[in-house]
């Protein structure tokens, strides 16, 4: 296939206020109502790098069940990209950043 550009392809237009977010320092244009996952995958092919071995991941179930689409947020902690709507000024990362002083841990392991 061609060079990695975008995973998702929009086929139904969305109308609404323009929203800009940043992912790994790159500005991403989205529309209010887009999920973070849809916004990021219309501009790229990955959401995060796995804690084990840094392999790329881009979500899986898209319905809030598999928990494979969590991305790191500068606001602290992580957000589930498939069920979180985009918001203006969101600053997101594929990997935890050294500058995070106090990442809020989620529970749910056990």
């Amino acid at each position: 296939m061609g060079p990695p550009t975008a995973q998702f392809r929009r086929v139904a237009a969305r109308t609404g206020p323009a929203v800009t977010l940043r992912f790994d320092g790159v500005s991403i244009a989205a529309t209010a109502g887009d999920s973070v996952l849809a916004a990021l995958l219309q501009h790229g092919t990955l959401l995060r790098r796995l804690e084990f071995g840094a392999e790329p991941r881009a979500g899986f179930c898209l319905m809030g069940a598999c928990q494979d689409c969590w991305v790191w947020s500068s606001a602290g902690g992580r957000i589930r990209a498939c069920t979180t709507p985009v918001a203006e000024g969101m600053e997101l990362f594929a990997m935890p950043q050294a500058s995070f002083d106090r990442p809020a841990e989620e529970s749910g392991r056990g």
């Binding site: 887009d34 899986f60 598999c66 494979d68 749910g108």
Partner: protein, 454 residues
């Protein structure tokens, strides 16, 4: 007396709320989703220019009717969208809404938690671009997006052909529809499928539409790998005659039918029984959906039956609540609903044979394949744990040793495949492999919120 609580605003939950409202009650309807309809009848936001009537095809009328009925109900129910039930403790629900925790006590609880895809891993299935089959439909209905431009549909399910048809109509190229169940197994299951001739006809029609459109459709395919370095580049498989086939694609939709989301029923105290046809542990219910006093289960969250069965079983469980509250029984209505639910669920039992869960394929997986996406546990690690462990092979022991099923998804994705790997150690006996127990929180929540609520 507290108002009855319904969890899940899909067809089952909405139909249940309708029956309770008609009897003068004001149910509390809790839904994790932001908009009612569940997964199948998911309603796109108004801002999305998506022709749902076209997308829903033969089910468009039911889809529109359900949402009209829900809107008529709204003033008469306590509807709480965007609310996660993350734990159930005795008669208390632990809720999370907008990051805030709260509790809710109940006398009568109806859980209609819906279903998700059942997944069999294969090499490369964690690559970006591989999504569940249900996820491929959610991307379209919820976000107006295709998961890729050239999509392969892999698994075993009548929904492969349905989703491929929707994708084709929205402009995707279909690389292949590869179904792992052989055509002769499908033919053998036909008599059981005559329980619901209309649904059967619809399924055949989707397949015919694929053939008419010139889509490559394989039955009895044996998946080899999803190939690619940083993303999906091709699907490699063997066809029914054993020939190697490689299909270039940039996305794969993967699904082997649906499995009920039973974690909440587990926490609410339901008893589980092994179902040898589906090879799943399912909550035990009576003919109306009672799991224990005060607990009712309906829809695909307890038995896969599809949207029509979900609606009927939701209404039926609501009648059970009314009858348990001492209201006069509506015997004729109840009987009709029970017959309908039974017929549609029998049909799904037939489908489970026509579209088989690939247990042999899972038992034969290479050691290097990732089994657990969350904790990055391989098939080999699971096998090694069973070889080392002195006790009998059992899923919860394997989970404790390997962390497979212990990650953020709580075994929702890897659970059925893990069960088959353990069953393979037990001579193929799924019952002996045991049941992955549900744990709170059923989904990850901030630790601070959990402290709030306790």
């Amino acid at each position: 007396m507290a108002d009855p609580v319904i969890v899940g605003a899909g067809p089952a939950g909405i139909a249940a709320a309708e029956v309770l409202c008609a009897a003068g009650l004001r149910p509390i309807l809790i839904d994790e989703g932001a908009r009612a309809g569940g997964q199948g009848y998911r309603r796109p936001a108004e801002s999305l220019a998506l022709d749902m009537a076209r997308l829903m095809g033969s089910e468009a009328r039911k889809y529109a009717a359900l949402h009209r009925r829900f809107e008529a109900l709204l003033p008469r129910i306590d509807y709480r969208p965007g609310t996660l039930v993350w734990a159930i403790d005795g008669d208390t629900l632990h809720l999370l809404r907008d990051g805030r925790a709260e509790t809710l006590c109940f006398d009568r609880l109806l859980i209609a938690s819906g279903a998700m895809d059942r997944i069999a891993p294969l090499p490369g299935w964690t690559l970006p671009g591989v999504f569940t089959l249900g996820g491929a439909q959610v991307a379209l209905k919820d976000q107006g997006c295709l998961i890729g431009s050239r999509v392969a549909f892999l698994g075993s399910s009548p929904l492969l052909a349905l989703a491929a048809k929707q994708y084709r109509e929205m402009g995707a190229e279909i690389a292949v529809i590869a179904d792992t169940t052989a055509l002769r197994a499908k033919a053998a299951a036909l008599p059981a499928l005559l329980h619901a001739p209309r649904t059967l006809a619809r399924g055949l029609w989707y397949m015919a539409a694929s053939l008419r459109a010139g889509t490559k459709m394989l039955h009895g395919a044996v998946p080899v790998a999803i190939e690619g370095s940083e993303r999906v580049e091709a699907l490699l498989l063997h066809d029914a005659r054993g020939r190697e086939r490689r299909f270039a694609c940039d996305a794969v939709a993967l699904g082997y039918g649906l499995k009920p989301e039973t974690q909440l029923a587990d926490l609410a105290g339901a008893t589980f029984v092994y179902d040898a046809d589906f090879r799943l542990f399912l909550p035990k219910i009576d003919g109306m959906g009672r799991a224990r006093p005060g607990l009712y289960l309906a829809g695909d969250g307890v038995r896969i039956g599809g949207a029509d069965a979900a609606e009927a079983s939701g209404a039926l469980a609501a009648h059970a609540i009314l009858s348990d509250l001492g209201r006069p029984a509506e015997i004729a209505v109840t009987r009709r609903l029970a017959r309908r639910v039974q017929r549609l669920r029998d049909f799904q039992r037939g489908l489970a044979r026509a579209f088989a869960w690939p247990r042999a394929q899972i038992a034969a997986l290479d050691d290097a394949v990732t089994l657990c996406r969350c904790e990055n546990v391989t098939v080999g690690a699971v096998r090694a744990s069973m070889a080392r462990d002195l006790g009998p092979a059992e899923v919860n022991r394997v989970k404790a040793i390997t962390r497979c099923g212990m990650g953020r998804c709580q075994g929702r994705v890897c659970g059925p495949a893990l069960q088959e790997l353990v069953a393979a150690e037990c001579g193929g006996d799924g019952l002996a492999a045991g049941r992955l127990r549900g744990q709170a929180p059923v989904k990850p929540i901030a630790l601070a919120a959990a402290m709030d609520g306790s």
